[in-house]
């Protein structure tokens, strides 16, 4: 019974594909999985919109939407209908072709990223040998889509927003890659299923997740910072800073195309937190050995929703970073620490079993963190803001 629950989707697919003649079966299998992903994640997007608005409300001492349906559960449906029925205005001076293509390219690139994520025991759509490289290759093309959106609307604010967004995504893509390179170095393979398999062992009931090692934890923190910046969320949402940039690169979009941008942003959040769960939190492996009977895909999606809640939590708390602070933080704090993290991971590997590797690695990382933090704050580009009032 447990086995079937764990493999419920795989068995379902085989059963459904079984109806087709043998020749068509592989193609139909892939098509079925693709349809499943394209149907499931936008539904999860609707649920997350509701969770976000209720969560943010609760954090600000208010209730959040509760008018549309019981507990406001139909609010995403209302938003969807509103954005579908709204008129899709394209500015006259806009570059029509590029303006139309930008949201499509963004959503397509983000959907491609889901192909390599292992969502459960042998539930990976495409088990690629260079899966992580494929994921980052797809992630890299979203920057171009953002630029196309900003430039083609021929609007100063959206161009400014697009420039800020692209600059931010590029400067935080380097730490993102570097922190996942540490995981690749320790597992010895770029394939995500192998990474999850490497983390799927238990000693005394505790799992071998990478986050429970010093370099893994530091890597995870850097990864989390980089993902928040990659998806333009919470403290790094300067590109669509409502206060000064109207709505950043998607100012001139309305109706369905604006909903596509919104969907693209949330899908990017899902896929990048799914990747984070796979790299550092052991993908679909259970947190404790005695919990092994729970189906594997439940663990993957609970970790995913946990990181979504952390995104929302950060959005409810942190103020927006200025562009120069954002850039300083990326190049002068996160990147050096991720490079150092690579060194520490190597050290961790060659010091062999035993407690001294814990001490050495922790010491190096904490020292570096304290020193760079203090140095950064002293020189003023990392710490709290200092204002120069007019004399």
């Amino acid at each position: 019974m447990i086995e079937t629950a764990d493999q419920i989707f795989v068995l379902l697919k085989h059963w459904l594909v079984g109806f087709l003649p043998a020749g068509w079966q592989p193609v139909a299998g892939v098509a079925l999985s693709v349809v499943a992903i394209i149907a499931f994640f936008p539904a999860l997007f609707a649920l997350t919109v509701w969770i976000e608005r209720k969560g943010l409300g609760r954090m600000q001492n208010r209730i959040g939407p509760n008018r549309v349906g019981p507990l406001g559960i139909l609010q995403p449906v209302a938003d969807a209908i509103k954005s579908l029925t709204k008129e899709d205005i394209v500015p006259l001076s806009a570059d029509a072709a590029v303006h139309f293509l930008a949201p499509l390219l963004l959503v397509a690139a983000v959907f491609m990223g889901f192909a390599v994520l292992p969502m459960g025991r042998n539930m990976t759509l495409v088990n690629m040998d260079a899966g992580l490289l494929f994921y980052f290759a797809m992630g890299a093309s979203t920057e171009l889509a953002v630029f196309m959106a900003g430039w083609s609307s021929r609007n100063k604010y959206s161009l400014l927003g697009a420039m800020r967004a692209v600059a931010q995504m590029i400067s935080y893509e380097v730490p993102l890659l570097m922190s996942s390179v540490a995981v690749v170095m320790m597992t010895g393979s770029l394939s995500l299923t192998k990474i999850v398999a490497a983390q799927n062992h238990y000693t005394w009931g505790l799992p071998h997740w990478y986050i429970f090692t010093p370099w893994g934890f530091a890597g995870f923190v850097m990864y989390a910072i980089a993902t928040t910046a990659e998806t333009n969320r919470s403290p790094f949402d300067l590109p669509e800073g409502e206060s000064e940039l109207v709505a950043g690169y998607h100012t001139e979009y309305s109706g369905f195309k604006f909903a596509l941008f919104f969907l693209g942003e949330y899908l990017a959040m899902f896929s990048i937190s799914g990747l984070g769960a796979t790299l550092f939190l052991g993908g679909w492996s259970a947190p404790f050995s005695f919990l092994g009977w729970v189906p594997s895909w439940i663990w993957f999606f609970s970790k995913l929703m946990l990181s979504i809640f952390v995104f929302i939590w950060m959005r409810g708390t942190l103020p927006r970073l200025r562009q120069d602070q954002l850039m300083n933080f990326a190049w002068k704090f996160v990147l050096p620490l991720t490079l150092l993290n690579l060194l520490v991971a190597a050290l961790w590997r060659f010091l062999g079993e035993g407690w001294e590797r814990w001490v050495v690695c922790l010491a190096i990382l904490l020292l570096a963190y304290a020193f760079m933090g203090r140095e950064g704050m002293r020189r003023g580009h990392l710490g709290p803001r200092r204002y120069r009032y007019a004399e």
């Binding site: 969560g55 609760r58 954090m59 600000q60 001492n61 208010r62 209730i63 939590w313 950060m314 409810g316 708390t317 942190l318 704090f333 963190y369 304290a370 760079m372 933090g373 203090r374 950064g376 704050m377 990392l382 710490g383 709290p384």
Partner: protein, 223 residues
């Protein structure tokens, strides 16, 4: 240490989030149409005309002196004086507004009309759900819609209403006393006039008996 502030902030929002399910103080939302906050004493929305007694037309305190019409910043009050007069609360015949319109879509609830009104005739109401489908006529309240009994005034601004009533009662007493004194003086003069045989026909103050003495006195006492 870098990042300390972030953790403190996150802890604070977590406390808010968890607290909102538990303590009332962390969830301050009032579900407007179902639950309401009791309006405070000094709430003011749109003006209304106060009237004493049962019949609103006769009991209107307003004497159409049009001060509020002149003073109103957005000029949203329109008054047409009546031709005849009707007795006010002290019995003295006064004009009354044949037509008194306030366009509440223009009114900005600044309460200047209440401050300048010498006759305590216009006060600020706490009623704000006045939306209508018709944007022009619907929001133009005429005399009948504006008039509300003194009891309503007592209900919404109890302290202020009591103080106003006390003052009016005082004035009424003073006016009555003056009227009584004037009546006796007139009676005494009439008696003296009859007693004095023929002379002093053209007594000074000949016109005093003709018109009621209350008007000038009332003006000063009001200042």
């Amino acid at each position: 240490m870098l990042g300390e502030g972030i953790l403190k902030g996150l802890a604070e929002t977590a406390r808010n989030f968890a607290g909102s399910f538990v303590s009332a103080e962390r969830l301050t939302t009032v579900q407007y149409p179902e639950q309401r906050i009791a309006p405070m004493e000094a709430t003011r929305d749109f003006p209304f005309l106060v009237y004493d007694g049962a019949d609103w037309e006769a009991g209107l305190r307003c004497v159409a002196c049009q001060i509020c019409e002149k003073e109103c910043p957005p000029q949203c009050i329109y008054i047409e004086k009546s031709k005849d007069k009707k007795p006010d609360f002290t019995g003295k015949p006064q004009f009354y507004p044949a037509r008194f319109d306030i366009d509440i879509s223009v009114c900005m609830s600044c309460q200047i009309c209440v401050e300048v009104c010498p006759f305590e005739a216009i006060k600020m109401d706490t009623e704000f759900e006045l939306s209508t489908e018709d944007r022009f006529g619907g929001l133009l309240l005429n005399r009948k819609k504006l008039a509300k009994p003194n009891e309503h005034y007592h209900k919404i601004h109890p302290a202020e209403a009591a103080e106003v009533d006390a003052r009016l009662a005082g004035e009424k007493v003073k006016a009555d006393a003056k009227a009584k004194a004037a009546a006796e003086a007139a009676a005494a003069k009439a008696a003296a006039h009859v007693a004095a045989p023929a002379g002093t026909e053209a007594a000074p103050g000949g016109n005093a008996a003709g018109n009621p003495t209350a008007k000038p006195v009332e003006g000063e006492s009001r200042a």
